[in-house]
């Protein structure tokens, strides 16, 4: 592997299709599915882009954050809406940690006199 100063390179996003090289059938199925998911349906394209932006922050994927920040803008969302979407991701991630505190409480209760 060549030496790089970062695991992430913005230009790599443009090479995503390289993932189709050794498994073209799986790639094509994934891309067809991916495209269908983002078509407008019961949810608008904008709503889906905002969900994707929130999920991108939850999974902390820099490629997805780049792509879906642009997609949100191109679907008419503004920075205010996008910031709220990131807070939704933040609340769910934080809440998920906090609600596991109930398990901690249960363990403590089980071990305590």
């Amino acid at each position: 592997m060549s030496e790089k100063n970062s695991y992430y390179d913005a230009a790599d996003l443009g090479n995503f299709a390289a993932m189709g090289e050794c498994a073209p059938d799986l790639w094509e199925k994934f891309m067809a599915y991916y495209g269908a998911v983002f078509e407008s349906g019961a949810l608008t394209k904008r709503e889906k882009a905002l969900i994707a932006l929130a999920v991108a922050h939850a999974v902390q994927c820099p490629y997805c954050i780049d792509a879906y920040s642009q997609s949100c803008l191109e679907n008419g969302a503004n920075e205010e809406q996008m910031t709220e979407a990131v807070h939704v991701a933040c609340a769910i991630r934080g809440g998920a940690s906090l609600v596991h505190g109930v398990q901690m409480k249960n363990v403590v209760k089980g071990l305590s006199m």
């Binding site: 608008t44 904008r46 642009q70 803008l73 679907n75 008419g76 503004n78 920075e79």
Partner: protein, 314 residues
């Protein structure tokens, strides 16, 4: 590597103007009361390029003899060019549909406050720039305080019948607030209508979603922020061949403040003149078709849903 735009036009018919030209677009001057970040004309208060009455006479002569349906007046703030009202009146007398592209903020300035009534009296279509329906996003692009003034002027136009009376159309123009493509025009129009009506009791007819073209002040912004190559690539990758037929250059002729002729306002900014007589004073009274002069910036008009001064084209 981005291929030349012309190489993407397989059908040679689409490299020429349509049989009948519909719109004579006239950029009467670069002077403007604003200096918007996206302005491809780099207009502003210190610009001195203004169309003379003599050139306007040639515009009106060609408007009549070539039987253009529409006189589309733009700028700058076209209202700041001397003889602007005369040009509008003569255009109307010629039987053309006259539209004025206004920033609306000018209508609140001393010396211009009578213009909403003037527009209504003459049945002028008003096309107003409003890059978004919220103050923060709008002011970032057009300058502090512009949003509130525009809303007040829209309310004034509505009170005169604009947006309600069918002889008084009022259209808004959205353009992206940065290096990205515009959203779906129909969806955005619904959203603008809902929000402007609920928040400000403002109504309008159509929303035109226009793609920013990488020339002029917007081109400078792209270079300054390191976005130029990525944006060019974005426009190229979003090339939609279905948008070729409706390119506005095929249906119009564009004249600059000095009478210089272009295929569109963006070609004016790019200093790419028509292939034919160079000035409106040199045009005869018989309409002529022409080969269109293309540049790389033309990819902005064929990206995604297509773009023109009248919004999406595909």
């Amino acid at each position: 590597m981005i291929p030349p735009f012309e190489a993407r036009i397989a059908n040679p018919t689409l490299r020429r103007t349509a049989e009948r030209l519909e719109v004579l677009q006239v950029n009467v001057g670069r002077r403007c009361n604003l200096a918007c970040g996206h302005c491809h004309m780099e207009s502003g208060p210190n610009r001195t390029e203004l169309m003379t009455r003599k050139t306007m006479e040639h515009v009106l002569r060609v408007l009549r003899s070539w039987k253009f349906k529409t006189l589309d007046i733009t700028g700058g703030a076209p209202e700041m060019t001397p003889n602007f009202q005369w040009l509008v009146e003569e255009g109307i007398k010629s039987g053309a549909h006259v539209m004025v592209r206004s920033n609306l903020v000018i209508l609140n300035e001393p010396g211009y406050e009578h213009l909403p009534e003037f527009f209504a009296e003459h049945g002028v279509e008003v096309v107003a720039s409003l890059p978004y329906y919220t103050e923060r996003d709008c002011d970032r692009q057009r300058g502090s305080g512009t949003f509130r003034t525009v809303i007040a002027m829209l309310q004034k136009l509505n009170a005169l019948g604009y947006g309600r009376d069918e002889r008084l159309p009022l259209d808004l123009v959205y353009n992206p607030g940065g290096a990205f493509l515009p959203p779906n025009q129909a969806e955005l129009e619904r959203e603008y209508k809902t929000r402007l009506s609920a928040d400000f009791d403002v109504i309008f007819n159509r929303l035109f979603a226009i793609t920013n073209t990488p020339v002029g002040r917007f081109g400078d912004f792209l270079r300054r922020t390191g976005n130029f190559d990525r944006y060019r690539q974005r426009l190229h990758d979003a090339f939609n061949p279905a948008a070729l037929e409706g390119m506005m250059c095929r249906f119009q002729l564009s004249a600059a403040w000095d009478g210089g002729l272009y295929d569109c306002d963006f070609n004016q900014a790019a200093k790419l003149p028509v292939k034919g007589p160079a000035n409106i004073r040199d045009l005869g009274d018989v309409p002529e078709g022409r080969e269109i002069a293309f540049g790389e910036h033309c990819y902005a008009c064929t990206a995604g849903a297509g773009s023109s001064c009248g919004g999406a084209t595909a």
